[in-house]
Symmetry: C2
């Protein structure tokens, strides 16, 4: 497989002021396109160090994607470093200059004199037009490596990589990208997923895991040599082992499962919308995060009616009709209260489904029989109510996040199954 | 200044499956302690590449902090790479073995045979005890560089660095850490902050910015040679220029400003609690994110009563008493509706303060006079109501996030000021 490296430039990265998300994004893109990514290297704004690194990388990989250091100020050193490393003195590129000027003109701003620097490119490079910002990129071959230098602004870089860089790369480096199938799971940890996967193996299929709380993603990287039938068989085998936690599959079709590859709330929302159903939520310990999760889905207004964050007990009584003697007898964190919250919000909002969540997210409030992480979720809807008692690990934010996921997953399973009283 | 590098190991990083947050965290720690961080390097799970990189780094920095590759499996290569790079063959460390066994025993699990590998350390290193996981770390001097190898699990690494590594480092490398003062700002972009900062300069003070949406942090790194009086003067000068956006200062005292260094919702919550006030929220376009933001603060139940996510118009009428003719005449996204939402939730919840938020987060629903990003926030409380009309940039999530920040900031300013009708 061809090899690649990612080089990031910037004091803001090496001093820890920002996390380098560009390197992760580019690495995923390169891996999916069939590259073996050997290293990431991040260098501060030091010309001599950059020169050393550029020279070293030209001998050890087929493609080097560089981000950052193309701006107009003194600490933007990519072009000077390339010039010094490879004896390519900077020359004014009149097209690049016109583009920078044009961009300023479009926004009605005068171009500062320093911005002319962005148009001085190392000799003999290919200019990479930037339609999304002021700094043009450039690309060149040096030794073994094809170098592509892009702006560090993620929004610009993420446009330029596929549209400006990959066409040049494809013309130079033979790529066999293969396929990527992702099974998105909820309500399971990585170790349980791994155990359920057991002895799965298939020629040309590499399995990896990615935790993106509250979800876990199981990724199958499938070599270009694997036939469509073998892909299908491998996916079916994996799904047979871990399917109980999978809410959507991306990159392959599995019967009876959503294959949008969307987020967990989006998949639940699609199922509601497809059924013509509506939802209302009553939540306590999750404090609005359940409503926020579903309303993060564009178009949620088609199926989400309202959410009540009944933090105080008085609010549970007044807004949801939870009975005071239930609160007194069982406490706010209890199965009967979760059920009454779900039923109450459903009835008052006139929605098809109601969700009730009550629990102890911590750090305070624990009692011997109700430790932090005790959460009750209930679903009320056609066919009756469902309840689940949870003991969740982690800090306040983690307990809230996992509670929301558990409630939405309980609803998703109700939507998939024929109605039964549980 | 002494120099440092950060080395991360792992195929999951170089393939982009995870973003390397360890490197950013360590770099910030090292910078605050007085190191100049020269580079980050990330290497995949390849022994030969690791050996090359270890040898190269031993000659170019004073401290190299390595993360990852200490686990029990075949792709955990840090100890073998150190062994090969520096002729330090692995030897069984009996104390490390006992610790690994003890940890498994504590969790009632048998230790797998592979875990013994974690106790085979390169010859002559100093073991770094790991009280937070199974993999011990180790440290050693080689050439110019002192190497500290830590687990890649952030939770473990973030404990071990200050408690296990820094005592060894401090004994070897003279450090002059200086001071860090952070001014956390809300409702302002980096370029406006920069412009307001203008020509500020003070000897020994380095200014940097960090965007952590919806907040912007202005950081002053102050050299150890700067006197306490000069620090105070510099902070006062900066505060005089940007204070209108600052909600908390960390690392220095500024009269009349919170100095907890806490999050924006936490600072608002502290002000409410100190005044013995309570809050209720009615929100539409933010979909629960305002309630979620305030209930993310531990102990929010002391001052937060309830939140109503009135997504549907019917919910605004039924739950908040918004008048149907207001909705018909001005639309749901309007100043009068925001004001009625704030007043309605305040009255019904019986809280000191009510927040109302209504707007268009997009992507759908825009009209010529109400584009996506149009948001109205209102505060109702002692002394009357305050309203602000916003035109916010960005996608759905960004508009929601900035709306929440704007509403809480409007409340914070009301809490600071004597009551006036606005």
């Amino acid at each position: 497989m061809p090899t690649a490296m990612v080089l990031s430039q910037g004091d803001e990265v090496v001093t820890g002021q920002i996390t380098d998300t560009n390197a992760a994004w580019l690495s995923a893109q390169l891996t999916e396109r069939g590259f073996t990514v050997l290293r990431h290297v991040t260098v501060g704004d030091r010309l001599d160090d950059l020169v050393v690194v550029f020279r070293a990388l030209s001998g050890v990989c087929d493609l080097c994607v560089c981000t950052g250091g193309l701006g107009p100020t003194d600490d933007d050193l990519t072009a000077p470093a390339v010039a010094a490393a490879f004896d390519r003195p900077q020359e004014l590129d009149p097209v690049a200059l016109a583009q920078v000027k044009e961009r300023f003109a479009r926004f009605g701003r005068p171009m500062a004199a320093v911005n002319e620097r962005q148009a001085w490119l190392p000799r003999g490079v290919t200019r990479l037009d930037n339609d999304w910002g002021t700094a043009p990129g450039f690309a060149f071959q040096e030794g073994q490596a094809f170098f592509a230098c892009l702006p560090g602004v993620p929004r610009e870089m993420r446009k330029m990589f596929p549209l400006r860089v990959m066409p040049l790369v494809s013309a130079r480096i033979p790529l066999q990208p293969g396929r990527l199938v992702t099974l998105r799971c909820i309500g399971v940890g990585e170790s349980d997923l791994q155990q359920a996967l057991g002895d799965f193996s298939a020629p040309g299929v590499v399995v990896s895991f990615r935790t993106k709380l509250p979800e876990n993603h199981l990724k199958l990287r499938i070599g270009p040599e694997v036939s469509a039938a073998a892909v299908q068989a491998a996916v079916a085998d994996v799904y047979g082992r871990v399917g109980r936690w999978v809410f959507t599959v991306q990159g392959a079709e599995v019967a009876g499962v959503d294959n949008s590859g969307g987020s967990h709330p989006a998949v639940v929302g699609s199922a509601l919308e497809a059924a013509g159903h509506t939802l209302a939520i009553a939540e306590s310990c999750t404090g609005g995060r359940a409503a926020a999760a579903v309303t993060a889905v564009p178009g949620a207004s088609a199926w989400f009616l309202e959410g009540l964050v009944t933090y105080a007990n008085a609010a549970k009584v007044r807004l949801l009709g939870v009975e005071e003697n239930m609160l007194a007898q069982h406490g706010a964190v209890s199965e009967p209260v979760a059920r009454q919250m779900a039923a109450g919000v459903r009835e008052r909002a006139g929605s098809t489904w109601g969700i009730g969540i009550t629990g102890l997210a911590g750090p305070g409030g624990a009692t011997p029989d109700k430790p932090v992480g005790t959460v009750h979720v209930a679903i009320d809807g056609p066919g009756g109510a469902t309840h689940r008692a949870l003991r969740l690990p982690g800090d306040r934010g983690r307990v809230q996040e996992l509670s929301v996921a558990a409630a939405l997953e309980l609803l998703r399973r109700r939507l998939l199954s024929p109605p039964t009283l549980a």
